[in-house]
């Protein structure tokens, strides 16, 4: 029989109350067009209606992630100028939505600048525990003010933006809105991973924003599932695209396509 008497232990496990495990941060940015045209067809009301519910969804996803990704949210509203709704992203558990008003022009370029400044380790990406890939959701209903291209070029150089999941929701993207189509196409194509959703039935806008948010947050902050082929693992980007497509394709007045610079989607 073994000797029972030789060494000692320092302390019992039950005397050490565990501390919460460190969580990686997943930042979600909403770039929301608050130009005057968003007053038409109840667009801004749809945004204001959707966002509190979306925050609830993000809260549920965060809580469901346990010690994994904690979702942080910030919103950049742009009209004559662009502004951050919070100086830094706020945990979905603590975020409270303030309704937006629509007026003025479409200074999308300045919104790109603010996003660029947030997507930096010294800003929103400074979590000690590290970050998951961020997500950026752009929502606009019209041509951006001239000069947006140079701002997007600056943003293009930001590697964290290239890493991000990008989804654009284009409201009423009629063929004559050439600049809007170009801006959204180029924005989502950076990094080659984005999706564009075109909404022509404004009654569906709330549901579209909600579905996009829920799908992106759930998939991007969690796990992956093997595809049927058995050897290929779906990318998270394709899972997000598939998830959004499955939910929105049945809706009339909503179209979704993987975006590419030469995509026939806009035709």
């Amino acid at each position: 029989m073994p000797c029972l008497c030789d060494i000692s232990h320092t302390m019992p496990l039950t005397d050490i109350r565990p501390l919460p495990c460190a969580r990686r941060r997943m930042n979600m940015f909403y770039l929301i067009d608050t130009s005057g045209s968003m007053n038409h067809n109840g667009c801004i009301e749809s945004v204001n209606e959707a966002m509190p519910e979306i925050i609830e969804i993000l809260r549920d996803v965060t809580l469901g992630n346990k010690d994994y990704g904690e979702i942080f949210v910030n919103c950049i509203a742009f009209s004559n100028r662009a502004r951050l709704l919070e100086p830094m992203p706020v945990s979905a558990l603590d975020y409270s939505w303030s309704n937006l008003e629509a007026y003025g022009l479409t200074n999308m370029g300045e919104a790109f600048d603010l996003l660029d400044a947030q997507l930096r380790p010294e800003a929103a990406l400074g979590a000690t525990a590290g970050n998951l890939r961020p997500a950026v959701i752009l929502l606009s209903d019209g041509d951006p003010d001239s000069g947006w291209e140079s701002h997007l070029e600056s943003l293009r150089e930001n590697p964290w933006f290239a890493d991000s999941y990008k989804i654009a929701i284009a409201i009423g993207a009629a063929p004559d809105k050439v600049a809007m189509r170009k801006a959204i196409s180029e924005f989502t194509a950076i990094g080659g991973k984005g999706s564009v959703i075109s909404v022509t039935d404004m009654g569906k806008l709330t549901e579209v924003i909600r579905t996009v948010s829920a799908t992106v947050s759930r998939i991007a902050s969690r796990a992956r599932v093997r595809t049927e082929t058995g050897t290929e693992t779906e990318t998270v980007d394709s899972q997000i695209h598939a998830g959004i497509s499955a939910a929105l394709e049945p809706l009339d007045g909503v179209d979704i396509s993987a975006i590419a610079p030469d995509s026939p989607f806009w035709d």
């Binding site: 008497c5 019992p12 039950t14 565990p18 990406l125 525990a129 998951l132 909600r210 969690r222």
Partner: protein, 442 residues
Amino acid sequence: MPTLRRGTRIALTDGSTVTVGRFLGAGGQGEVYAATDNDGNDKALKWFTNPSLLADSRFAASMAARCQATPPGTSFLWPQALTVPYGSAFGYIMPLKPANYIELGDFFCIDRNPEAYFRSSTARLNAAIAIADSFSRLHLAGCCYQDINDGNFFADPFTGDILICDNENIVVNGHGHNIAGKPRYMAPEVAAGARPSTASDRLSLAVVLYRIFMTDHPFEGIATASGRYRCLSPEDEAIAFGSNAVFCHDADNASNRPHPELHPNSLRFWPAIPQTLKKAFQVSLSSKSLANPEARPASSRWKTLLCNLRSCLLTCHADRSEPVHDFLADTTLPPLCPRCGKPMAPFATLAFDIHHPYRLSAGKSLFLGDSLTAEGRCSTMNVRGRGVVLGLENTGTRTWTVQMPSGKAATASPGCSVVFADGCKIDFGTCRASVIFPTPCL
């Protein structure tokens, strides 16, 4: 947002129906709801929403077979009946988890669920044994779970009793096709595209067991902390927690030691566990184990090791405050209780013919070998002429035969107790033991 409305009636393939109740949660594969069957019994309804799964005809066939199969152990919340497709989706019903069970993931975020911590070392050890036992049975049956992670388990924080959900993941070993697993729990070969197997289960099991004892993640350390990765993409993750994973307490590689701010549990709990457990983690989570699936210790070996630790666990009654001081130990033992610093109360050791020596102190249950059913419970007894001494109550179903040092024989039927005396022998029916009492501490 829940897919199913409360009150919806869903038909089952056995001809009955269930009524959808409250939404309980959602994961990568689908949602879970409370439900009520035709007889008013509470059930849980798993509802698949993942398009990849729903598009996979083999998955539905596999689920149907799962409902017909016998669960490998009592901890599995086993699928009971498949639903008829409703809309474009389907699901299955299973027993509803009792409210006293908490998802294992909650034990890693005590800031959000302050109740989620094990109240005793006994409970913590019981949880580990129950999980090792369940997967040992599953693997012996030729199956693998594929997706062992912190979301699949529920634990009673007071007893360590375990329930295992998401059993649709179970397949015959090597025949999985639609599950990859959860990042940070997947074996490297699975992250690289291989099919999950019992061998990949073993690595995931070691990760879960480590977290039961340590709370933090075994592959999280200074090398996975901020600064090394711009944003941890799934590709980065497959490397950091797969092909490049380094155990934070690796015996030979110090490159990923716990970060003092980010992984305090890995730092604080490690000195408090027995050497045998440390060695088991250092083998199971080593670079050799990561790189070579065949080198991973089988779940049955975990069960044996943990049951041996159960044999060595002791309780101290020198301090009467609650909860009782219990602590894990190897075969070695400190002279003073590490919790209250008082001399250890006398305890008995059962020297078995076929099992690991088993320590008994007041309040501790007796399990024979690797059984999960207690056969006895040790307590203090007031005996005329001897004062307060330890004894063992027969809480099982077999009658024991006891031979006292004097040679006198007696029986202890269920409900009766044996008062310990040094040298007495107990025949438990399946094994025999000599009692060493009191066991010397010094």
